[in-house]
């Protein structure tokens, strides 16, 4: 029999208490009414159950399957069906395990979930994945410091061609200006000679690299897989790459802002960077004071810790002692932060009787005659002390160089958006290389303060992500966090009014604009969060399986009892990333919640379109609850500001409610953590109770 997209099979499982809680025969009748082939099995995921599933599906040539069993988070491999669209109806976790068995309301909920799935399967489209015509497998590395060098080397070793752009006249960056390195674990006695040149030579000699020295970028346009790069040189050199590693490095914190610490006295006060250079050329005086956290860990300057300065200052203390055996060194710290094996080095420095270390807060640094006086409070020796020395070295912190120099030809700006402290990242704990521009991966000190060893590793890791992005684009797949997703947003341009909401609200800058302001979509930049679907007032944006129509159809498929039946209906939009698993977890602990809710998972809370809310209210739902991930500074939204947008859009929704003469409480937005299974249960139950006090939606009977 030929395959027909309008043929749908409803496969029901009665195992895992589903059959005890729900009358699946009645679900079968419902399927018959809807003209859908239907069968049930006591263990659909068993070998026999799967055999039956495949036989039934091919028997009627169905390409779409409503699989009413457990959560899509369970048995994913077993229920994946090649070439067919499987919609999982979560009767187990969202009905049988959380509602009273064999009750009328439980049954109604199950029936509605099946109706919603069938409506969705009828409303969705088929669309081949987005495959760009030509994909470049080359990677651009911006910045030839230690992170960039390691990125290039890793990419070359893995078989990719690299374009390396460096603004300076040589590769190696800050690493080449270092006098000596901290000892490694095996040779703790000696400071090591830097060996960056070996790596520079290796990269320069590689046949598959093109190094552009003294070069900056004029522009980068296009999308991952096909980014067109133009250099700012006489020839306006152009080439294409698939993705980019951004390793633009750091700069020292502006010491001009540290005049209270004596900066400006050129002979008496130097920064760490200046002193690193100074010792390789000059003799050192007899008394040197190092002031740590000069600018770092300070709300007025850099509120973060710059991570590298403690070890660097200890190392410089040894320079002083090596160059001038008579020298006395003072180190004033807040905490000595020599992490990991660097503790050995700290111990080694402490063994030197001529190096004095004390905790303390610097009050001032002044020149008095030939010497510098450092006033310190709260030291370990005394509450107030003054140290006289010939030179003061300020351990200034790291400031990320930023990424404006990429000159992205993107509607939303030329660099990678920084979120906190201008570091170019988006989810630095779990997914440290992700930025808010698809195909651009930050490496080294541009994304966090770190030392040389760490920057080197970072370059390699970022290159891994860069080549992965290229391989994903070649397969038509989305990258993190919806890795493997083959759908992409499409715009029905005839109805677009150039309002620019989609271009402005996309967290990843996927949309550009024509001069007129018409959005230009770049599907390979897209992470498939659907925030543009939620943003569009004209409802012109949709994915094949997630569109205005498909969700509207689900909303309208629910049967709304009339107001006298006292069976309210609450539509719950849940973010599928955290809220949905939290509901599954609630079910695994059998935490009961109201059978009056009808749950629709969404790609991100930010993908909820206003029209679904008004659809639901006019259809007669009594209330709408939206549950997403935590917004704010420590956001947990996988798409950065999806849930934040929902909060902002909430204000507009209140206007909608007013025009419909409805109470503001009919729409509620809540945030939950993935571990909040108790909280999400309470949210749902409390909301349903609160709605009962407001009474039924007056549109119900219309």
């Amino acid at each position: 029999m030929s395959e027909r997209s309008d043929h749908i099979v409803l496969a029901m499982c009665t195992g895992c208490s589903i059959g005890d809680a729900i009358d699946t025969k009645k679900l079968g009748l419902l399927a018959q009414e809807e003209g859908v082939v239907c069968f049930s099995h006591p263990a659909l995921c068993s070998e026999a159950g799967l055999a039956k599933l495949h036989a039934e599906a091919s028997g009627c040539g169905a390409k779409r399957i409503a699989l009413a069993a457990c959560s899509p988070r369970a048995k994913a491999e077993q229920f994946a069906m090649e070439g067919k669209y499987v919609e999982r109806v979560n009767l187990r976790e969202q009905v049988a395990w959380v509602m009273e068995p064999d009750e009328e309301d439980t049954q109604m909920c199950a029936e509605d979930l099946v109706r919603m799935a069938l409506a969705k399967l009828r409303a969705i489209g088929d669309k081949p994945p987005y495959m760009p015509a030509a994909v470049s497998s080359d990677v651009l590395v911006v910045g030839g410091g230690i992170a960039g060098l390691n990125a290039a080397m890793a990419g070359l070793n893995a078989g990719y061609k690299i374009h390396l752009v460096e603004q300076g006249e040589a590769l190696g960056g800050y690493a080449t200006r270092i006098h000596k390195l901290v000892p490694d674990l095996d040779h703790q006695e000696k400071l090591r000679e830097p060996d960056t040149q070996t790596m520079v030579d290796l990269v320069m000699a590689h046949p598959h690299v093109k190094v552009y020295l003294n070069s900056t970028l004029k522009s980068i346009g296009g999308e991952p897989g096909n980014l067109s790069v133009t250099l700012d040189d006489d020839q306006n050199t152009e080439f294409s790459v698939g993705s980019v590693v951004v390793s633009t490095g750091w700069k020292p914190y502006d010491p001009g802002k540290l005049t209270p610490l004596g900066y400006g006295d050129t002979s008496g006060v130097k920064t760490l960077e200046e002193f690193e250079h100074h010792v390789s050329q000059h003799s050192v005086p007899d008394r040197v004071t190092f002031i740590l956290c000069a600018g770092s860990r300070d709300e007025a300057h850099l509120s973060y810790c710059s991570a590298y300065c403690c070890t660097a200052a200890l190392k410089q203390a040894l320079y002083v002692r090596e160059k001038n055996p008579n020298a006395q060194v003072y180190i004033i710290y807040r905490d000595i932060r020599t992490s990991g094996f660097q503790e050995d080095f700290y111990r080694r420095v402490q063994e030197d009787d001529s190096i004095f270390l004390t905790k303390g807060r610097i009050q001032s640094v002044n020149r008095v005659g030939v010497s510098m006086q450092t006033y310190i409070k709260g030291s370990l020796i005394d509450e107030e002390i003054v140290i006289e020395s010939d030179m003061v070295v300020l351990a200034t912190g790291m400031v990320p160089s930023g990424s404006e120099s990429l000159h992205l030809q993107y509607r939303l700006g030329e660099g990678l958006p920084g979120i906190e402290y201008d570091f170019s990242d988006s989810h630095f704990i779990c997914f440290p290389y992700e930025t808010r521009r698809t195909g651009f991966y930050a490496a080294g000190t541009v994304r966090a303060p770190m030392d040389l060893e760490s920057s080197a590793e970072d370059g390699s890791g970022a290159m891994m992500k860069a080549i992965q992005c290229i391989e994903c684009v070649k397969r038509g797949e989305a990258v993190h966090p919806r890795s493997g997703d083959l759908t992409f947003p499409e715009l029905y341009m005839e109805r677009c009014t150039d309002c620019k909401r989609c271009t402005e609200e996309c967290p990843f800058g996927a949309y550009d604009e024509t001069e007129k302001g018409t959005p230009l979509s770049n599907p390979a930049r897209c992470r498939r969060c659907g925030i543009c679907v939620g943003s569009c007032p004209e409802r012109v944006i949709g994915f094949a399986d997630f569109s205005i129509n498909s969700v509207s159809a689900m909303i309208k498929a629910v049967h709304i009892p009339d107001e006298f039946e006292e069976k309210p209906r609450v539509l719950v939009f849940v973010c599928e990333n955290d809220a949905y698993p939290a509901l599954d977890a609630a079910a695994s602990y059998r935490l009961k919640y109201s059978p009056f809710v009808r749950i629709i998972p969404v790609r991100c809370l930010g993908s909820v379109n206003k029209v679904w809310i008004s659809d639901a209210l006019s259809h007669g739902y009594d209330g709408i609850l939206q549950i997403g991930c935590k917004p704010g500074d420590d956001y947990q939204c996988h798409f950065i500001h999806g849930s934040e947008l929902t909060r902002q859009r909430g204000e507009n929704l209140q206007e909608t409610l007013e025009t419909m003469m409805l109470e503001p409480e009919r729409i509620m937005t809540k945030f939950v953590e993935i571990s909040g299974h108790h909280q999400i249960q309470e949210m749902i139950n409390e909301y349903v109770e609160a709605l009962a006090l407001i009474g039924p939606n007056p549109f119900k009977s219309m």
Partner: protein, 409 residues
């Protein structure tokens, strides 16, 4: 032959290496010795510095594994031997029986009838049965049976009740031989044994815990929606002490700094301050090492009047008194005097020790894995040196690309 890449260790680092490789198009075999993936972090309450649940990032990674046919994983699996060379290593992997097969639907009937209990988190947490699952976000989403305590054939209650033929009480351990091209080693770490720090009375006092145990205590309380209870009597502790560098930075124990413990303790103190405003915490430290942006946590903590920082190494932990209070003796460096303070619960910030390495690899003087030892074998994350989650993920991603070579194409 185009063999897959083997990733040893299914914690956050191994998972990361595996999914990054698979999404780049490589075949990967991931093996984990525990019955579930996720390693340490899957049992943690929250991450620093965002105080967010680890399950959030893990779930994304599990989804990536579920939907990627290029990853094969084994749980309860350990490498017993490995030989060969880059391009064709042969790894013998022994697989402990789960006693529950893939038919399991995680319905939970087996645990309902199981008469045997297994060790669980102290402090009033629900006791796990021999048939158990680590909560609804576990991966794989199926039960396991603790073979140490299961009564097997003499009980069989789970077999009688399982509707899916999922129970296999007679299952035996198996050995699988894997041919792999290259190997990523992400075998991770464990806590320094606190009982070795004799003056801290860890073995004697039930209310002296390690930071990892405290993490589990917090996680269990949240999971079960109840108040935190201390192990001895289940009561909510009023005063909690955090003892930093319990073993770390100490030539008698761990000469190195374990990197994560400062941030972890400040995270605990802040989490407590948010959830239990009545609890007072005091953190005893040598240096507060919240590097990079973790500094933010410290600033937040300093603004909270429920958290006190005292510079000084705890010398001795005394016997609990009749009220169940534990005496801490510490030299307060800034005040320049000895202090004796009593607490209801003491958390030792014990450090990180590398897990035993796989055969073929040698360790440095501290037991961590030396890098660049064997062509084709790449150690990653905390088996190399102590590091936090973010650094581990980054290092694992870097190890992944090292296992991809031009010559493979």
């Amino acid at each position: 032959m185009n063999f897959p890449t083997l990733v040893i260790g299914g914690g956050i680092s191994g998972i990361t290496a595996a999914v990054e490789l698979a999404e780049t198009g490589r075949e990967v075999v991931l093996i984990e010795k525990a019955p579930y993936l996720g390693g340490h972090v899957s049992g943690f309450h929250n991450y620093f510095p965002k105080l967010c649940p680890p399950a959030c990032g893990l779930e994304i990674n599990y989804r990536r594994i579920r939907s990627n046919p290029r990853i094969t994983y084994y749980t309860g699996a350990e490498v017993t031997s490995i030989c060969g060379a880059e391009g064709d290593f042969t790894a013998s992997v022994s697989i402990e029986p789960r006693l529950i097969n893939n038919n399991c639907t995680a319905c939970g009937k087996c645990a309902e009838v199981c008469p045997v209990e297994r060790n669980s988190v102290p402090g009033g947490a629900k006791v796990q049965k021999a048939a158990y699952i680590n909560g609804g976000l576990s991966f794989p989403l199926k039960y396991t049976i603790d073979q140490e305590v299961c009564l097997r054939e003499s009980c069989r209650r789970c077999m009688d009740v399982c509707a899916f033929d999922a129970i296999q009480l007679d299952a035996d351990s198996a050995v699988v031989e894997l041919h792999v091209r290259r190997v990523i080693v992400a075998t991770g770490w464990h806590s320094y044994p606190a009982e070795l720090i004799a003056n801290y009375r860890y073995s004697e006092e039930p209310d002296v815990l390690t930071n990892v145990e405290f993490e589990h205590l917090m996680a269990a309380a949240h999971r079960e929606n109840r108040k935190l209870g201390r192990p001895s009597d289940g009561a909510l502790p009023g005063r909690i002490a955090f003892v930093q560098c319990a073993g770390s930075r100490d030539l008698n124990h761990l000469p190195y700094c374990s990197v994560v413990c400062c941030s972890a303790s400040v995270k605990h103190a802040l989490t407590l301050a948010e959830a239990y405003p009545e609890i007072e915490t005091e953190i005893f430290y040598i240096d507060l090492r919240l590097t990079g942006r973790n500094e933010k946590l410290l600033r937040k903590a300093e603004q909270t009047d429920k958290i006190t920082f005292t510079k000084g190494k705890v010398g001795r932990i005394g016997k609990g008194d009749e009220g169940g209070r534990i005496i801490l003796e510490v030299e307060d460096i800034m005040a320049g005097k000895k202090q004796r303070n009593s607490f209801d619960l003491v958390v030792l910030a014990t450090g990180l020790v590398p897990n035993p390495l796989i055969p073929l690899l040698s360790a440095n003087e501290y037991g961590f894995c030396n890098v660049n030892q064997v062509e084709g074998i790449y150690p990653a994350a905390s088996c190399k040196r102590p590091m936090d989650v973010s650094a581990s993920v980054k290092d694992a991603t870097a190890a992944a690309i090292k296992s991809m070579q031009r010559s493979d194409e």
